[in-house]
């Protein structure tokens, strides 16, 4: 399964990564090799096999986990914003989105 540079660029755009041309080429080769390895899964007949969507399904892990919808203390504005690279009062600041 060999990826093209165009596919690498398309995936990077989906993942919001801006790769350098060198990275594109490195990843093209490495991801192709990994995809070639994982293709071994196509040997298996998985028809009728349920996907393991929850690691604890067999232990009753699928029981709904619900709690009462009640107001509880959480992080303060100050704590929540303490790590923000840019803030404005009690809000995270981002670049202008609508010109």
């Amino acid at each position: 399964m060999a990826l093209s540079v165009e596919e690498v660029r398309r995936i990077a755009a989906l993942a919001r990564l801006r790769l350098s041309p060198e990275e594109e080429e490195t990843f093209r080769g490495q991801l192709s090799a990994i995809l070639e390895h994982v293709a071994v899964l196509s040997e298996l007949d998985v028809s009728g096999v349920e996907p393991m969507t929850h690691a604890l399904a067999a232990e009753g892990g699928l029981a709904p986990v619900l709690r009462p919808d009640e107001v509880r203390p959480g992080l303060s504005h100050e704590e929540a914003l303490a790590n923000a690279p840019a803030r404005d009062g009690t809000a995270f600041q981002v670049p202008r989105i609508i010109e």
């Binding site: 990077a12 993942a15 990843f27 390895h37 096999v49 690691a55 232990e59 690279p85 670049p95």
Partner: protein
């Protein structure tokens, strides 16, 4: 060597007993631990941060409790350290990544809260592969970590600092995380005990997420008893983690000396006859199995036919989940924001491009591809079905055995730089550990001998039934008791990093 320095060589449980008997103070123990870190860590690189002042204050509080006869637990006052992927309120947490440089968590992980509530003194944050993605600790964005047995070799990963710090006697125990082998592999490479609990046994609240259906926190320690003590401290339900189990936690210590008589040990043909298995590793594992037989255990051949698909399934599922989990690092709410970006999309792209190292990028790319339109069924969904098959193999094996045993890794610690250019070769270090994560089962690595050619430690892996950590620990203890304590590594060569 000072009396406190000699105490550093004791197992955690014994150091705790000295504190209980007022034969030592927590302050002297913490000062010695900090001293050993200062002496050795320039050459080992196990710590990303040392929290000396905070630790000494905690030690004084522990000593005050001891003086009042109010010790909180057997861990009270004992210096430990945690992988820098566990949030520590007020102490920077990087996950080994530049994208979290300067991040100071506003709350602590449940496991950190529980350690501190038990009185354990956290002396620092331990090195790791970036976002726990790696098998050698070489993917740390800050510095490599070295193996105390041979500083030219890796300690294994991703919890490299967690294993190296414990093996080098800098701390008495540590916490790591294991998504595909990240506790067991470094434990094996560094000659310490490491436990990957059943998925859901230990809460993941406050653990930086890598692959949420696989990640588990667990202890690393020098003895099985110490590992049991730490596991008992951190295990148990936490309502803040919806995947944490409500099942009561077993008493891991009460049955620890129960021995191996009558224990049925399953030997998967696929592991012991694996063609990549190095002879020195195979030899040490076979000797351990022979010891078990002498102790009255029964060796039972079993088969895990789908374990050969483990790596492939894992390298679709883990990257897919990582690509989703790592979407939150976008330069908006925490972490550095790339300057000079025009518009929101450029803020995301440039912050991520500069903040992530090669391995997270590679996995984000792989996961994004596997989840993208038109590929989901062929990759992610198929891998989740294979996961069911892997689990069924174990369920079948456990009809005729109580634990499954085999090597932790195909070989001993490899050299720094040896596999960095070939991600697939690096991934294959996890070939034997990954299936326990896929199947959500508990796994453990216990030192079982040394490689004849290099003298490096070899770990034996034991995998158990869901939530049956107690049997794994009892079995590991039987081997440890028969063999005697695993030795400390030789003194490090003098001078700077090798």
């Amino acid at each position: 060597m000072t009396a406190a320095g000699a105490l550093l060589d004791l197992p955690l449980a014994e150091a705790g007993a000295r504190l209980a008997g007022r034969e030592a103070t927590s302050r002297s123990l913490v000062e010695s631990a900090l001293g050993r870190v200062a002496e050795l860590d320039g050459r080992l690189g196990a710590f990303l941060a040392v929290t000396g002042e905070r630790a000494l204050a905690a030690a004084d509080a522990a000593d005050a409790r001891a003086a009042r006869g109010e010790r909180r637990s057997r861990l009270d006052g004992v210096p430990v350290a945690v992988k820098d992927i566990l949030l520590t309120r007020g102490v920077p947490t990087t996950a080994g990544s530049r994208i979290l440089e300067g991040f100071v968590p506003p709350y602590s992980a449940t496991v950190v809260e529980r350690l501190e509530a038990a009185g354990a003194v956290i002396v620092g944050k331990l090195n790791l592969d970036e976002f726990a993605m790696g098998s050698s600790n070489e993917n740390s964005a800050y510095k490599p970590c070295r193996n105390p047995w041979d500083p030219s070799r890796t300690p294994g990963g991703s919890s490299g600092g967690s294993a190296a710090s414990v093996a080098a006697r800098m701390v008495f125990g540590s916490l790591g995380t294991d998504t595909g082998g990240s506790i067991r592999l470094p434990a094996s490479f560094c000659g310490v005990v490491g436990v990957k609990p059943t998925y859901g046994r230990v809460p993941r609240w406050g653990v930086v997420a890598f692959a949420s259906s696989l990640d588990q926190v667990g202890p690393l320690a020098r003895t099985v008893e110490d590992a049991a003590l730490l596991l008992g401290t951190i295990a148990g339900h936490d309502p803040r983690d919806m995947t944490s189990s409500r099942r009561p936690v077993d008493d891991y210590l009460s049955g620890l000396e129960g021995g191996a008589r009558g224990l049925r040990i399953g030997l998967p043909r696929e592991w012991l006859e694996s063609e990549g298995l190095e002879p020195g590793t195979a030899g040490a594992v076979r000797q351990a199995l022979a010891t078990y037989e002498e102790l009255g255990a029964k060796l039972v051949p079993v088969s895990l036919p789908h374990s050969r698909y483990g790596i492939a399934a894992y390298y679709l599922i883990a990257p897919a989940e990582a690509s989703s989990n790592l979407a939150r690092y976008d330069g908006i709410r925490f972490g550095p924001r790339s300057g000079g970006a025009k518009g929101l999309r450029e803020v995301y792209e440039l912050s991520r491009e500069r903040g992530f190292g090669a391995e997270p990028k590679r996995r984000i790319m792989l996961g994004t591809y596997a989840l993208s339109a038109g590929y989901y069924d062929a990759y992610y969904l198929r891998a989740q079905k294979v996961r069911t098959l892997v689990r069924r193999d174990f369920d079948e094996a456990f009809r005729s055995c109580d634990v499954v045993a085999g090597p932790v890794a195909p070989g001993v610690a490899f050299r720094l730089g040896e596999r960095t250019q070939d991600p697939l070769a690096m991934y294959l270090a996890d070939v034997f550990t990954i299936t326990a994560n896929l199947a959500a089962l508990p796994g453990l690595s216990v030192p079982c001998g040394r490689d004849a050619a290099t003298g490096l430690p070899v770990g034996l892996q034991l995998v158990g039934r869901p939530f049956d950590e107690a049997t794994l620990l009892r079995a590991a203890r039987a081997l440890e008791r028969e063999r005697g304590p695993f030795p400390a590594p030789p003194p490090l060569p003098a001078g700077g990093p090798a």
